[in-house]
């Protein structure tokens, strides 16, 4: 906040104190009430950026965010996993707005690190129960009819650390295994049509070219419905960590199925029961049995501001902001409570409301400095109402790891600090 004073011009040194005070924000402005107002040197002084030339157009052939946004980064939790190559990091949801996640901030989840693939060396093979097994180059794929679609990708384990209670302090960590971008790609159905499906075709196996050989079984109905084989995100090529040069996009379904660095699609008549659909991505319930093929991500929401990493800074007018999404369709409504669920109000949804996409909501409110217990509750186009964590635990117990879409509570204290809590 006071970074503009980091390299002060000599002529401005005497104004440093005043600048730092102004930079301290609204709290300082509030205490100044009653005193005679002093002119703001940020206005009365000519600032460096107002006098000297800025960088020229040849400085950043590929731009990056302002240096003042250096805290808007992906973060990981080292103790979560044994190695950074089979691990996860988190999207800084509390620092973002709208519905599109900037490509460089999309959370990552790898099982054997980021495969480094020259697109000229990449091949996609389709074989198995097809009329004619085929091999495609990236150039072939770029000659097929394309679609552009915005979808969320949520890791099945998003909020998984929260099953037993409030653990991680920030929506980046509790809800940040999600991102939402516009994909450009080819419908999988069109690619399968090139090979010609045999009548016994029931399941596909998608496999990555990485050292994990990531593979998952996908029912044919979904494959022919809305799955894309994407080569671009947010208008440019996929980022390496998101599967460059080619990935699967499986709208509304758990992120693990969105195989990155996609190199092979086998057509079969039954699922393969790969490690990622038996040992992992199966949901252990209280009776010791487990659900499998829990593909769909249910309706979910989270208030991103205020949240532990984004405390309230001033009394009076404030913006509560958050995200809602559903793997079953569109978001129809989001309710917000500020008093721990005693009373609710309908939030204002703004921006595009797209199928299986993040949806942005707001509540513009006045804060009198009292404690708040903030929650949001999403409803989707199928009539599904986001449950509480307690309601989920009643059905599933606390050991199912995946698919935690329970309502999140933030406790805002009188000083604005905000904490991840569970309430009765």
């Amino acid at each position: 906040m006071t970074s503009h004073a980091d390299n002060p011009a000599p002529s401005r040194r005497r104004f440093l104190g005043g600048a730092a005070l102004a930079g301290a924000g609204l709290v300082a402005a509030g205490t100044a009430r009653g005193q005679s107002p002093k002119p703001d040197p940020l206005i009365t002084d000519v600032q460096d950026w107002n006098r000297y030339l800025g960088e020229g157009v040849d400085k950043h052939p590929y731009g990056s965010p302002s240096r003042f946004e250096k805290n808007v980064v992906r973060r990981d939790v080292p103790w979560l996993t044994a190695s950074p190559e089979s691990s996860v990091n988190f999207t800084p949801l509390h620092d973002l707005d709208g519905i599109i996640t900037p490509s460089g901030l999309c959370f990552e989840r790898h099982h054997a690190g980021i495969a480094d693939i020259d697109p000229a060396s990449h091949r996609l093979m389709i074989h198995g129960l097809v009329d004619k097994p085929l091999v495609f180059t990236m150039e072939d794929i770029r000659r097929m009819p394309r679609e552009n679609r915005v979808y969320f990708l949520e890791c099945a384990a998003n909020s998984g650390m929260e099953w037993r209670g409030a653990q991680l302090n920030g929506c980046q960590f509790t809800h940040g295994m999600v991102h939402n971008v516009m994909y450009t790609g080819v419908p999988l159905g069109a690619i399968l049509a090139e090979a010609g499906l045999k009548p016994q075709a029931k399941w596909l196996m998608l496999e990555g070219a990485d050292a994990a050989g990531m593979n998952r079984s996908l029912p044919i109905e979904k494959a022919l419905d809305d799955v894309l084989i994407a080569f671009a995100m947010n208008g440019e090529a996929l980022r390496p960590e998101q599967g460059y040069p080619l990935r699967a996009v499986i709208p509304g379904w758990e992120g693990n199925l969105w195989v990155k660095w996609l190199r092979r699609i086998e057509v079969g008549d039954m699922p393969w029961m790969a490690r990622e659909e038996t040992s992992k991505y199966t949901d252990l319930l209280a009776d010791g049995r487990s659900r499998r093929f829990t593909f769909i991500m249910d309706a979910k929401s989270v208030v991103t501001n205020p949240s532990p990493q984004a405390p309230l800074k001033a009394r009076g007018r404030n913006v509560l902001s958050g995200l809602a999404w559903s793997g079953r369709g569109t978001i129809k409504r989001v309710d917000v409570t500020l008093d721990g669920g005693r009373n609710w109000q309908e939030a204002r949804i703004d921006g595009p409301v797209l199928d299986k996409s993040l949806t942005r909501f707001y509540v513009d409110f006045d804060w009198n400095g009292g404690e708040l217990l903030v929650q949001s509750r999403a409803m989707d186009s199928t009539g599904y109402v986001q449950p509480t964590k307690e309601e989920l635990r009643k059905v599933r117990g606390a050991n199912s790891i995946y698919h935690n879409n329970g309502i999140q509570t933030w406790h805002v204290k009188p000083n604005g600090e905000t904490e991840n809590v569970e309430i009765s």
Partner: protein, 245 residues
């Protein structure tokens, strides 16, 4: 200047027609040109529901074989081969034990591969091959495709059979150190938790989450905080976050 003629030459040699000197041609294509002609040419013209585009080329048997590494629960995909518990023990100590422990107990945070049978209803279940995995084929498939971590697809079929046999032994599923696992007897081995999985049933068991008219006013009398994240205090701060370059 020196680059363009070479590219044009290579492109000509590869039989490519350079329409636009765009960046695509910066890497001379190694693609064997399969002109989209004979099989689908007629269909491509017809206004069919999903007309074939005539893109891609036929995959050769050698190529399909090279990439078809998957093994299914019914044994489809198993290569010919065999390996004993004893052989697996030796391989495991050399290739696997540094992460997974001599007896599959897992070092540090590395995965536990054996034990935990009967723990799935416990407060802290131990999910291993023996206690949780439904199919032996997954053990073979996963070891072969992804292990050892950092040197995947380096094991020969006999080695994967031996390691799979040793993991059965560590999990008390076979008791004999001379047990030999092969493509012949593979599908006769059943894992203890095989029948404990069922397809997603949320739409019936969680039916009550649909179609509710949620309460909006005076929904409860009092609210208590029952758990706090800061009590655990395991969240990293911004100082431990990765750097932006």
């Amino acid at each position: 200047m020196s680059k363009s003629p070479r590219i044009a030459l290579l492109a000509a040699a590869a039989g490519l027609v350079v329409v636009v000197a765009g960046p695509l041609f910066a890497q001379p294509a190694t693609k064997p040109q399969a002109p989209p002609k004979p099989p689908h040419a007629g269909q491509a013209q017809a206004p069919a529901a999903s007309p074939r585009l005539g893109l891609g080329r036929e995959a050769l048997p050698e190529e399909i074989k090279a990439w078809s590494i998957e093994v299914r629960p019914d044994g489809k995909g198993l290569p010919p081969g065999r390996g004993t518990v004893r052989q697996g023990d030796e391989l495991f100590q050399a290739q696997c034990a540094s992460c997974h422990g001599e007896f599959g107990q897992g070092n540090g945070r590395w995965p536990v591969l054996a034990g935990g049978q009967g723990s799935l209803k416990d407060d802290r279940p131990e999910k291993t091959i023996g206690s949780f995995w439904p199919d032996l084929s997954t053990v073979y498939d996963y070891i072969h495709r992804a292990m050892p971590f950092g040197n995947a697809q380096s094991l020969q079929p006999d080695e994967v059979y031996a390691l799979t046999a040793y993991l059965l032994y560590l999990n008390d599923i076979v008791k004999d150190e001379d047990f030999e696992l092969s493509d012949k007897n593979f599908t006769s081995v059943k894992l203890p938790n095989a029948s404990a999985f069922y397809d997603d049933d949320r739409e019936s068991t969680e039916k009550s989450f649909w179609g509710r008219q949620p309460c909006m006013k005076d929904c409860k009398r009092e609210v208590k905080i029952t758990g706090r994240a800061t009590v655990l205090d395991v969240t990293p701060d911004s100082k431990t976050a990765p750097k932006v370059d």
